[in-house]
């Protein structure tokens, strides 16, 4: 395995560097080796940092006769308290960590903050807040400069955001990302995107789409804009769909995993097709379009999101034919061929578009 060989090479370098015969020529050769491949560098850093820490072992040698390697096991007896204090080192850490992990999943944030009872309760909450600050505060920077990502027509673009969340942009889409210590604000200015949100209870993840916004803590969902309409598909966790701050008095809705919401100017309708069906709606990420009993006009509109040469109905009466199945969105011609075979349809293939006529 390659990574093992690299680790061995890194250890050989480090041992040589620690040795008696290190010289500038070797140092230059090491620099060259490190620069040749990031894998070399990370392997070396990993060994070097542990070796630097190992210098602390000198504390064990204090007071012992020089030149004699002490027998094993005598430190353990010296510090039984440390055994207990250090959870990482305690017996069977792996089993315990695994057990702790087994039940862990993204969970939606509690909606209402707990009512504060007495002093003790308050103290507990303050302490908890302190812990969070410790866990997260150390690494968080004040504010990350805003960034924007976009995809061209016919492109699906995966993006890792600075907070560890993933986004996948659908065809012809654009998001603007603004991360601050209080909030992760994403504006979907066009198209469609799937979000896989890194959990951070202190910073809600808010996707704005026109008049609506979708609020999540750690979950997976997609948001899509079609004119004034916003579609939200939730495949994991729960999100809240609400009007943008200071917006109109549009109702807000809580959407659990497996729901599909359509929000228009007049209100929100929520379907609950289940997680599996909701996930199918995001198949575009892997290059597929999955239809179930969909009117032909809508199926064509889906293909047209991805392709510059639109498929159009020359005869409006065809619009209500219903289609189903999985198709590659990059292959509209194959879809048209199938439609011609299965329906009384004839395709007229023009350079700039494909027109479907009734046969």
């Amino acid at each position: 395995m390659d990574s093992l060989r690299i680790e061995q090479a890194a250890a050989a370098w480090l041992a040589r560097r620690e040795g008696d015969h290190w010289n500038p020529a070797q140092a230059a050769a090491l620099e060259q080796w490190l620069a040749a491949d990031t894998a070399h560098r990370v392997a070396f850093l990993r060994l070097r940092s542990a070796w630097e820490q190992a210098g602390r072992l000198k504390a064990l040698g204090a007071g012992l006769p020089r030149g004699r390697v002490p027998p094993r096991g005598q430190w353990d007896a010296a510090w039984p308290a440390l055994e207990a204090a250090s959870a990482v080192d305690a017996p069977g850490p792996r089993a315990r960590v695994d057990a702790a992990l087994a039940g862990v999943r993204f969970r939606p944030r509690e909606q209402a903050p707990p009512a504060v009872g007495g002093r003790q309760r308050l103290a507990g909450i303050v302490a908890l807040a302190g812990l969070f600050a410790l866990a997260i505060g150390a690494s968080r920077q004040a504010e990350v400069p805003p960034a924007s990502f976009h995809s061209a027509l016919g492109e699906v673009v995966p993006v890792t955001l600075n907070d560890g969340s993933d986004a996948v942009l659908g065809s012809d889409s654009r998001i603007e990302v603004r991360l601050s210590p209080r909030r992760r604000a994403i504006a979907l200015t066009r198209g469609e995107a799937i979000f896989d949100v890194a959990r951070d209870p202190q910073r809600p993840f808010v996707v704005e789409a026109g008049e609506r916004q979708v609020v999540a803590v750690g979950t997976r969902f997609s948001v899509r804009r079609d004119g004034a309409q916003v579609q939200v598909v939730v495949t994991e966790g729960t999100v809240r769909l609400e009007p943008v701050a200071g917006g109109s008095s549009l109702p807000s809705a809580l959407l659990p995993a497996g729901s599909v919401a359509l929000a228009g100017p007049d209100g929100v309708s929520v379907l609950s097709p289940g997680v599996e069906a909701a996930t199918r709606r995001l198949a575009w990420r892997d290059g597929d379009l999955s239809f179930e009993d969909l009117p032909l006009a809508e199926a064509l509109a889906e293909f047209n999101r991805y392709n510059p040469r639109p498929l159009e109905l020359a005869d409006p009466s065809l619009a209500t034919l219903r289609v189903g199945g999985s198709f590659r969105w990059s292959e509209p011609e194959r879809f048209v061929d199938l439609v011609e075979q299965l329906f009384p349809v004839r395709a007229e293939r023009r350079p700039d578009r494909v027109l479907l006529h009734r046969r």
Partner: protein
């Protein structure tokens, strides 16, 4: 060579190795690929951080791991290898994953002492004489009656085994009997096939 990025990588990424290893082990069904997987995660994180430093390194680390597994899974599917892993199980609540930060000095020392004790005899001897007593390579060679080259080899092996213990990937239960430890160490020596002398 010490750069800001390197320091960041050590203090913000490597400290999570125990969590990362547990996560990969839980999600990925092929143990023989874990080492490789971990390295590639590190490479991706280091390269991404060279462009912009992630504001939440731990989340970024785990997101990168998840991406990598997804990529590998996808590649595997193309050639019809058995489906592996359960992508749904990959969404770990990162903040609750496990204890990680290197703790105070005394705890680090206790951990290092234990790591030292798990080294094979000759290797442990070399590490002790070089790192603790700070004898020169030549002095160690003379004292142990082996060549300087062999001292260096033992040292390199000790560095690898110590790192595995220290970063937590190889967190063996403390109450492991000596026989098992020895065998494991020999496995650790692995493909380089260097004889122990």
């Amino acid at each position: 060579m010490p750069s800001v990025l390197d320091a960041w990588f050590v203090s913000e990424i490597l400290v999570h190795e125990a969590s990362l290893a547990a996560y990969l082990r839980r999600c990925w069904p092929r143990p023989d690929e874990l080492h490789d997987l971990r390295q590639e995660v590190y490479v991706r994180v280091y390269e991404a951080a060279g462009k912009t430093l992630p504001s939440m390194p731990k989340s970024f680390l785990f997101a990168t791991a998840r991406h990598l597994m997804t990529d590998r899974l996808r590649r595997a599917r193309v050639v019809r290898i058995d489906p592996v892993g359960d992508p749904d199980a990959w969404n770990v609540l990162v903040d609750e994953c496990s204890p990680e930060r290197w703790c105070g000095g005394r705890q680090v020392l206790a951990r290092l002492a234990r790591a030292l004790d798990r080294l094979p005899d000759r290797c442990r001897e070399v590490v002790w004489l070089r790192r603790v007593e700070e004898l020169s390579q030549k002095e160690v060679a003379v004292r142990m009656g082996i060549s300087e080259k062999t001292v260096e080899k033992h040292l390199a092996k000790g560095m690898r085994l110590l790192a595995a213990q220290f970063h937590g990937e190889d967190g063996l239960p403390a109450a492991v009997d000596h026989h098992t430890t020895g065998r494991r160490m020999r496995q650790g020596l692995g493909p380089d096939g260097q004889p122990e002398d």
